[in-house]
Amino acid sequence: MSIFLPRGLGKYGIRRAPQDTALRQYRQLQIGTGMPSYLAVTSGSTAHTAGAWVQASSSLASNAGLLCIFFGNISSNSVDSSAMLDVATGASGAESVIVPTIAIGGSANNIAYIPVSIPAGSRVAVRVRGARTSVTFYPQVWFFQTGDFATTPRTLDILGVDTSTSKGTAMSGASGSYAQITSSTSRDYQQIVMVASSATSTGASANVTYTLAYGAAGSEVDQGSIFAQYTGNSISISQGLPLPLASGSPVPAGTRLSVKHNIASNPQLYSVCLLGVPYV
């Protein structure tokens, strides 16, 4: 009897995802005390151009291995509220992007858990762009210290976004259909993180399960799911734990990635993007 492992698994073995350790050992690095303050982050004066960087931390007190970003008030009824958020490190005027263009359009109570390492002492800033211009949004950023800082990458890749429209990849087809995010990943990833968004100004209330899948069209292998609750064109992510939002096993370069949906009608109104977590 032969046992076939998914391509790449033999090369990497079964590794613990960075935030697994974070869940057991996390120690939140507070910005000040208590809950982090809302940041006032304004989109650019031209559609889909980035606004100013806004400082989330002047100097991290310790190494961070996991970011948690809450996206609120992105949504606006009957208005295209497509938007993207960047994360950077570095002094004002010399920011270097570490997590680019996360599609967050339509977010009302949306959240993303981002496994990226940021050294102690770093200044961290965020900025937004989108269809709505010169609009101020109020994200919150949490920094978590993890026990495996060394295996968490300093930068992530974004997959399935269109910076000319600030949108993720829209779903298509009947419930159970897969929407291709990328035909072939450009490098190895230790993990993929999904972030839900809205792709339109049209209201579309639904409870949506997005399932990440690897493999060629017609032979996709499901990996893990997230749940997003949409009300109108806004999103409320009802998952509270990081793991369901960060799904999947190792992804070798050259892998086709897709996302399956369970949307009964108008799937084009719903979208996702993926964060590729490379090896260090």
Binding site: S37, Y38, L39, A40, T42, S45, G51, A52, W53, V54, Q55, S58, S59, G72, N73, G90, A91, S92, G93, A94, E95, R123, A125, S134, T136, Y138
Partner: protein
């Protein structure tokens, strides 16, 4: 309390970055302008915005009360 700066584009006056730690040396295309405590507070709470034309912080209409969620 740290001093806040706004880094703007030298040619257009558009805001590029807001923070307490500024690049040294500052790239030639940018200028760092120190903010008063009031202006920094306005920007950080969303009560005001940077006006590239006047190169100053302008209060939003009706911004006597905090805009940000409590």
């Amino acid at each position: 309390m740290s001093e806040w700066y706004i880094v703007i584009r030298r040619d257009t006056g558009d805001a590029y970055s807001i923070g307490t730690v500024i690049a040294d040396p500052m790239p030639a295309e940018f200028v760092a302008i120190p903010l008063s405590d009031a202006d920094a507070d306005s920007l950080n709470k969303g009560r005001g915005f940077w006006d590239a034309a006047s190169r100053s912080v302008v209060m939003r209409p009706g911004s006597e009360w905090p805009v940000a969620p409590a």
